[in-house]
C-alpha cells in the first residue's frame, strides 16, 4: 500500500513494554514504594487490622473527590469549589437533621436530608458549569469565586440557624436508618471476620495445624491477625464501598462508553469535538455536576459516620483532589488521564497523609513536603507522556 512504510515506522512493542509505558505506571511504582516503606517504617502497624481500616478511610475520602476532579480535568476544566462544596453539603445535611426541613416542613430523615442537599449541590454544579461554558471564562476563576461563595454561605448559614459553626451530638442515625448506615456505617465485615478467623486458626492451640514458629506468630500478632476473640475492628467505613462504586462507574464510562469518548474529545480539542457533533457544553456542565456529586458523597459519608459537621469541613480538599488526579497521570491540559491512575494516586497520597499516625517520630508537615515534590515530579512525567503521544519526543 502507498503509505504502508510510513505507518510501519511506529514500532510494535512487546506487551511488557506497552505495560511499563502506560500512563498509570509512574503512579503505580510510587504507590508500591510508599506501601513498602510504610510497612517497614511503621513496623507493619500501618497495615494491621485497625491501621488498614484507618488508611482506607482517608484513601477512600480522597479517592471519591479525586475521581470527580480527574474526570473534569480530562474534559479540560478545573473545579476549585470541591472543598467548599463538601462544607456546604455537610452543613446542609447537619442543619436539616438538627433543625428540621426548611420552611417548617417537619422533621428531616437522613434520606430526605441527603436528597435535598444533593439537589442543591447538583444545581450549584450546574450553575458553575453553565457560567463556565456560556461565558467562556476560565473555570479556575469561576470556581475560585464559588470556593469563597460557598464557604462563606456555609458559615453564615451555620451562625444564622445554629448560632454556632458546628453541629454535634446528633443522634446516631446509623442505628435507626438503613440509609444512614449505607453512607456512614460499615462494609465488608466478612473481610475482618476472615482475617481474624485465619489468625485464630494459625496461632491458637497446639493441635492441627502445627503451631507456627514463634517469630511468625509475633509478626502475625503485629497484624492483629489472631484477635478473633476480642475483635474490635468489624469492617471498613462505608465510604470504601462508595469509592469502589464511583471508581468502577467512572472507569466504565470513560473507557467503554460513548460519553467517555466525548469527555476525552472535549478535553483534547473542544473545537474539533464540536465540529464532529460532540455536545461539548453539555459534557462539561455534566462533569461539574459530577464533581458536586462526589463532594456531596464525601460530606454525606462524613456526616453519617461521625454525626457531626462544622463550617471548616473539606477545607483544602479541592487542591488535594487535583493533586491526586495529577499524580495519577491526568494531564493539566485535558484530554488524557485514567481512573486506574487516580486510584493509585489516592492510595499513595492517602497513605502518606496518614503516615504520621503510625510513625509518631515524624513531623506531620512532611506530608505536604512529600505531596509538593511528588506533584512536581508527576507534572513533568505527564508532560513527557503528552509529548510522546503528540510526537514531541
Amino acid at each position: 500500500m502507498a503509505d504502508r512504510s510510513e505507518s510501519d515506522r511506529l514500532q510494535k512493542e512487546s506487551r511488557f513494554k506497552q505495560l511499563i509505558r502506560r500512563p498509570e505506571m509512574g503512579a503505580f511504582v510510587v504507590m508500591v514504594v510508599i506501601i513498602i516503606s510504610l510497612l517497614i517504617a511503621s513496623d507493619s502497624k500501618a497495615f494491621n487490622a485497625l491501621g488498614l481500616k484507618n488508611n482506607i478511610k482517608i484513601i477512600a475520602q480522597y479517592g471519591i473527590i479525586a475521581t470527580g476532579a480527574a474526570m473534569l480535568m480530562i474534559a479540560g476544566e478545573f473545579d476549585l469549589s470541591i472543598g467548599s462544596m463538601i462544607g456546604f453539603a455537610g452543613m446542609s445535611m447537619a442543619l436539616m437533621l438538627k433543625w428540621g426541613l426548611p420552611f417548617g416542613l417537619g422533621e428531616a430523615t437522613p434520606f430526605l436530608a441527603f436528597i435535598i442537599t444533593l439537589a442543591m449541590t447538583l444545581t450549584i454544579g450546574w450553575v458553575i458549569g453553565t457560567i463556565v461554558v456560556r461565558s467562556g471564562l476560565s473555570s479556575f476563576i469561576v470556581t475560585l469565586a464559588f470556593l469563597f461563595f460557598l464557604r462563606g454561605t456555609t458559615e453564615v448559614a451555620f451562625r444564622l440557624i445554629n448560632q454556632s459553626t458546628q453541629v454535634s451530638g446528633l443522634p446516631d442515625y446509623k442505628e435507626t436508618s438503613w440509609f444512614a448506615n449505607l453512607l456512614g456505617g460499615e462494609v465488608f465485615g466478612w473481610f475482618y471476620d476472615l482475617w481474624f478467623k485465619i489468625g485464630q486458626w494459625m496461632t491458637a492451640g497446639t493441635e492441627f495445624p502445627a503451631r507456627l514458629p514463634v517469630e511468625t506468630i509475633n509478626y502475625l500478632a503485629l497484624l492483629n491477625i489472631n484477635r478473633r476473640l476480642d475483635q474490635w475492628v468489624t469492617g471498613f467505613d462505608a465510604r470504601f464501598l462508595w469509592w469502589i462504586v464511583i471508581s468502577i462507574a467512572a472507569w466504565f464510562v470513560l473507557s467503554r462508553t460513548q460519553l467517555g469518548n466525548w469527555i476525552y474529545a472535549t478535553g483534547d480539542d473542544k473545537e474539533a469535538a464540536r465540529a464532529n457533533g460532540v455536545p461539548v457544553n453539555r459534557v462539561k456542565v455534566g462533569l461539574f455536576m459530577f464533581t458536586a456529586f462526589c463532594a456531596t458523597m464525601f460530606a454525606a459519608c462524613q456526616v453519617f459516620d461521625t454525626n457531626t459537621s462544622d463550617a471548616a469541613k473539606g477545607n483544602l480538599m479541592e487542591l488535594f483532589a487535583i493533586a491526586i488526579a495529577v499524580v495519577g497521570g491526568t494531564l493539566m491540559t485535558g484530554g488524557f488521564g485514567s481512573v486506574v491512575g487516580v486510584v493509585f494516586g489516592a492510595v499513595t497520597v492517602g497513605l502518606v497523609a496518614n503516615a504520621v499516625f503510625f510513625i509518631p517520630a515524624i513531623d506531620g508537615a512532611w506530608f505536604r513536603v512529600f505531596l509538593g515534590a511528588i506533584l512536581l515530579a508527576a507534572v513533568f512525567a505527564n508532560e513527557r507522556i503528552r509529548k510522546r503521544i503528540t510526537g514531541g519526543i
Partner: protein
C-alpha cells in the same frame, strides 16, 4: 454530462458593509474534482463555509440534486451530504484513530457502550479503501504524519455519507511526498465515481494534476471557470494571479 450534485446560483454573502461573496455560481459533479482557486481574501473560505452551513447566504440559492436547500447549521449541511475537511482537520491528537474516526458518531451497544471491535474494523477498512493500511487503529493520531491525518479525515467524511467532499487546502503545510500522498487519496476517492470533490488550493501544479474543472475567485467574484481542456496553463496562471497578466506583475516587481 450528468447533473451536478451541488449547484450554487448567484450566491451573495455580506458581513455588515463588507461583501465577501458578490454573486458566485458553481456546479460540482459526482466523480469530478472541482478545483477552487484564488488568492488570499478571494472569498474561498467564505464560500465553503456557506456551503458547509457555517454561514447563511445573504442572497442566492444552493441546490442539491436540483432541489433548493438552505442550511441553518453545519449539521444540516452534513445531513445533506456535504462533508467538509477543514485545514485543522478536526482531529484530536491524544485520541486513537478509531476514537477520532467515530468522534461524536460512535457506534453504541446497550448502556451507551462502544462497539470497539467493530469500530476498529470499520476505521481500518475505510482507511484502507483510500490508501492507508493501519495495523493498529488504537494508535494515537498525534503519532501520524500530516498526510495520514488528512486521509483519516477524508475517510471519516466519506464513511459518514459525504456526497460532496470539500477539502480546504489539503496539501498546504505538507512536505512534497506527503502532498503526493494526499493527491493519490483524492484520486482514489474520485475513482469511486459517486462523490463530488471541491478541492481548494493555492497550488497550480496540484490543481493541474487532479482537477477536472476549475473555478477562479478574486475579490468575491468568479473571474473564470471551465474544464481542464478549456483552460490552458497560461490562462490558469493569469487567473490565479487574480486576473493580472504575469507580464504586468513582472513589470511591477521590476519597478519596486
Amino acid at each position: 454530462m450528468a447533473d451536478p450534485y451541488l449547484r450554487v446560483e448567484n450566491l451573495v454573502k455580506q458581513f455588515g458593509p463588507f461583501t465577501a461573496l458578490g454573486g458566485v455560481d458553481l456546479a460540482v459533479y459526482p466523480g469530478e474534482v472541482h478545483a477552487l482557486l484564488g488568492d488570499n481574501g478571494a472569498g474561498k473560505s467564505t464560500l465553503i463555509k456557506t456551503l458547509a452551513g457555517v454561514h447563511q447566504p445573504t442572497s442566492g440559492q444552493i441546490y442539491i440534486e436540483g432541489k433548493p436547500v438552505s442550511f441553518r447549521s453545519p449539521r444540516d449541511a452534513s445531513a445533506a451530504g456535504i462533508g467538509t475537511v477543514y485545514q485543522d482537520l478536526a482531529l484530536n491528537q491524544l485520541m486513537s484513530i478509531t476514537r477520532n474516526f467515530f468522534m461524536g458518531r460512535e457506534l453504541k451497544g446497550p448502556l451507551g457502550t462502544l462497539r470497539m471491535d467493530e469500530m476498529n474494523q470499520i476505521a481500518h477498512d475505510e482507511m484502507l479503501k483510500i490508501g492507508i493500511d493501519f495495523s493498529d487503529p488504537t494508535q494515537a493520531v498525534g503519532t501520524m504524519s500530516g498526510g495520514q491525518r488528512q486521509t483519516l479525515a477524508i475517510a471519516r467524511a466519506i464513511y459518514f455519507g459525504a456526497k460532496v467532499l470539500i477539502l480546504d487546502e489539503p496539501t498546504s503545510a505538507l512536505g512534497q511526498k506527503q502532498q503526493m500522498g494526499v493527491l493519490k487519496t483524492v484520486k482514489r476517492v474520485k475513482a469511486r465515481g459517486d462523490i463530488a470533490i471541491i478541492f481548494i488550493t493555492h497550488n497550480e501544479i496540484h490543481s493541474r494534476l487532479i482537477g477536472d474543472r476549475y473555478t477562479f475567485l478574486a475579490l468575491g467574484k468568479v473571474i473564470g471557470a471551465g474544464t481542464s481542456d478549456q483552460i490552458g496553463p497560461e490562462e490558469m496562471r493569469r487567473l490565479m494571479a487574480g486576473g493580472a497578466e504575469m507580464g504586468d506583475l513582472e513589470k511591477e516587481l521590476a519597478n519596486v
